[in-house]
Amino acid sequence: MPGLGARLGRGGATTTLASLAESDCIVIMGSNMAENHPVGFRFVVEARRRGATVIHVDPRFSRTSALADLYVPIRPGSDLVFLGALVNYVVNHERWQTDPFFREYVLHYTNASVIVSADFRDTEDLAGLFSGYRAEQRRYDSASWHYAAQIHRVEGERWPCRPLVEPERDLTLQHPNCAFQLVKRHFARYTPELVEEVCGVPRELFLRVAETILANSGRERTTAFCYAVAWTQHTIGTQIISCCALLQLLLGNIGRPGGGILALRGHATIQGSTDIPTLFDLLPGYLKMPRAIPEHATLASYFASERPATGLWYDMPKFLISLLKAWYGDAATPENDFGYTFLPKIGGDYSFQSILTMMEDGIIKGLFVMGMNPAVGGQNARLARRALANLDWLVVRDVHEIETASFWYDAPEVRNGEVRSQDIRTEVFFLPAAIAAEKDGTFTNTHRLVQWHDKAIDPPADARSEAHFVYHLGRRLKELYADDDSPAGQQIRALTWDYPTTGPHQEPELMAIAREISGYRVADGRPIAGFHELADDGSTACGCWIYAGIVTPEGEHRAKRRQGDDRASLDWGFAWPANRRILYNRASADPQGRPWSERKKWIWWDPEQGRWVGYDVPDFPATKPPDYQPTPGAKGLDAHPGTAPFIMMLDGRGWLFVPHGLVDGPLPTHYEPWESPVPNLLYSTQPRSPVAPAFLRPDNPYHEIADPRYPYVITTYRLTEHHTAGGMSRWVPWLAELQPAGFVEISPELARELGIATGDWVVVETARGSTEARALVTERVQPLTIAGRTVHVIGMPWHFGFGGLATGGIANELAALIEDPNSLIHEAKSFTCTIRKGRLPEGKAP
């Protein structure tokens, strides 16, 4: 998410799945789309039928590759070199330099012309580091990355905001420190030859891909990129994604039909679970969770630190205060910062991997696990199970008795005697959960589309929905703390928790919750129509500003609409924000407001009506004309000209160079995965990300770069037949029989070396653990030539565990705890291992 957010303004797919059908070229990279998004993939197939070129870049030839026109085998973890080389190819290409379309798009819609501070030093200058690196703290001070700009303090605001930034620009794009030139210089060494050395992709093949992409970008043609967690789950994952955003900005594909970037999210509603987040560092609508630092001590200081003076985020107080009014109701008053004091403040990295270590170290005593299976599904699964065994209490809510609930008697280490059940002091509560068909609710899919699903049948026996559990838990906590005046007690007491319930089990009425999310006027409860009606004085309440207006004033939930059409299907569900389907769609028209071409028209300016019209809801102020110029000192969206499509960004432009927002650099840079068999050929003294949070603990040992004990690259992935850590699929007979056992895919070359045949048992081993599986010897996996030597890649689905019908070795026991510094996501897509024919010794610790 930060990858797209930092350059474009929102951390989500910029386009819709249906729009892929209008692409002229689709690049699927870091994704196995056909297997993991089969329904969405129908639009890729439709595009192919209409003549589009489909390119699949992936270490394995998968079911996606089977339907592609070009399959490009690539070394896991080297994607940024490939993308950077595409950037280098594009900016040095004659067509890109002479076709006026690219010039216009880049000049007006990106920050290419902005001049960066003279103190800025690139990785090319500092052997792999940007300026401002603090080695002892392993972090960057980003002061030298900022614009060379005029800074003006802002006075007279109801709520404070950050200073106004007025950057210097060079509209000729020649200034050596303008963003464009910095990009060009940064990627100068990302040549096709480098791609061949580092990625293992033959240069002719790379050039074919590059030519195809460039040829399919421009006024008349658009190219789309689809990516998923094989980009995200790296220590440089955010930067890989961000590099794609950079490339698509240069190619003028963002905001246009058949263009853009489709971030393919992994669950039915994981987009929803970051919109109204289960993430520790976000508030609903991607507001930043306040931290326990002086800058966030009060609401005012929070805004002074976080609220920009320009762009849509200028309205941050309206969003946050409306959220606080929704959560704390009457307890939120101007006197107590609208309840800001009740909000917990975070004190560090409380992401999933950190939680595990805190559990193991006895800091976290109790855990709720709902719809997740860390005993199988997360990095260093053995450490995870040890961590679970160290809790005082554990509540697991799931459809089946997943490994996280049964580890204390059924885990491998218990079965072989290494750990005794009676020594595990965790009190485990296992509560049955209802499945999707047994409850009402919405899913928010990978392109921000919210769709309602109806309850088809009552859940059996004691199974209940999440809403029921959380509501009644909260209700009982409120009763428990009714007379408690401590700060913790006040936090609980202040919460509004008055949803009506229905039915024999007192299910909370979901429409009541939906109305709270959608927003209403506090005084009379009247629903609001959209986030433009939110106020920063406590007169409105809204549970999530990007969903504002999802319930109409007449009480209809727009997620229930089902009228589709061949364009944007505006009456099918509701896409946040404000039902805009393709984000940044101002860019689908030229600076004068006319479509770039008839073939690719989407929205355009209608001078007679004085508004933007077309096939979609404009992601832009509806009546702002293309020739609008801001007055000096204008705030919010008024500070953006009529040619600024990226309304969330400070300057309304897509950022080629990112002065702030990414902690590991303003420009994407290749570093090797934390564990790699080869050194960094770009920067030999800086093999790994200099700021990736590492967990240096004895129970989380890392392999060295080019560690001879673990010479093979391993990548983990999903299959269509199973779902994540298997909780919803390994117990289901019809799914279990489709992929009944864990397996490892290895190339015939490696299999010959090690004497392995299909069906043999093999043991895969890292410093974290060993796991066994069946071998599948297939040519779909191939060895690559990296810097002149052969590197073998093996692949292992990570769905399998010891419970259910379809069992198998737990792939995540092999992986280590290691994070991307921006997203704090783990690196699962590329690490090292060794493999041998055989089984784990019976009765001995694996």
Binding site: A34, F41, R63, A66, D69, E779, R780
Partner: protein, 283 residues
Amino acid sequence: MKGPAALEGTTRARLGAFGFLTDTTLCIGCKACEVACKQWNQLPMDDFGFTGMSYDNTGDLGATTWRHVAFIERISDREGRRPTTLAPFQSNWLMLSDVCKHCVHAGCMEACPTGAIIRTEFDTVVIQQDICNGCGYCVPACPFGVPALSPLDGKAHKCTLCYDRLKDGLEPACAKACPTDAIQFGPVHALMDRARARVSELRTQGVEARIYGDQALGGTGGIGGLNAFFILTAPPEVYNLPAKPELPQRRVLPAFLTTALAALALGIATLFSFRRVGRMQHG
């Protein structure tokens, strides 16, 4: 007699026949068809275990598996090199969702001695479960290896083309679930028109596409065409399908004739042998 080329894309399906066009060039091997079928028909899990046959752990159609996705990996070319430029639409990893062919002239139906197997008003072939007594003759009588006896209830089972859903105006479960519309349901003649157009479009793109289930391939030998037919991109044997099968019952009359001839000859020989006895007795 017409040569095979003239029979391409033709079928003797009756007007009003409904069936499937399974276009393997659109298949992504997701197996939603297998799961939807099992769920709708409440069929149990069967034959559980890792096979190592690419991603096919199902193996075959059977009494409790009525859709089966086959996987054939053809990654390297004749010289053993892995290609990067692929012929479009699934040339290197073939995927086929196999199903009962609901033949225009069905070997199983003609073999069935109880009349359990019938042709419905949709021209599909269905085994009536309240009549079948498990004689098992339909099983080897199918040139495609579709029906099988179930050890659970002793009767023969196969795809019903969701007869119950069709009667309520719904499309079959597998066609509904298929995300890429590789499985298309509709009137057979309309589907055949569509298939011809698709095959010719694919051929111009360099794909060796062909219809399997017209009178030239698959629907041969008196079968007359398959109501559930396919578009393939390799010879049928690659997908474990017989190229030019024959309706087994075509041999019944000729075989009875040769048997009758043999009976005649043996009868004469027998009479001749005993005649001498009779005569000698008197002699």
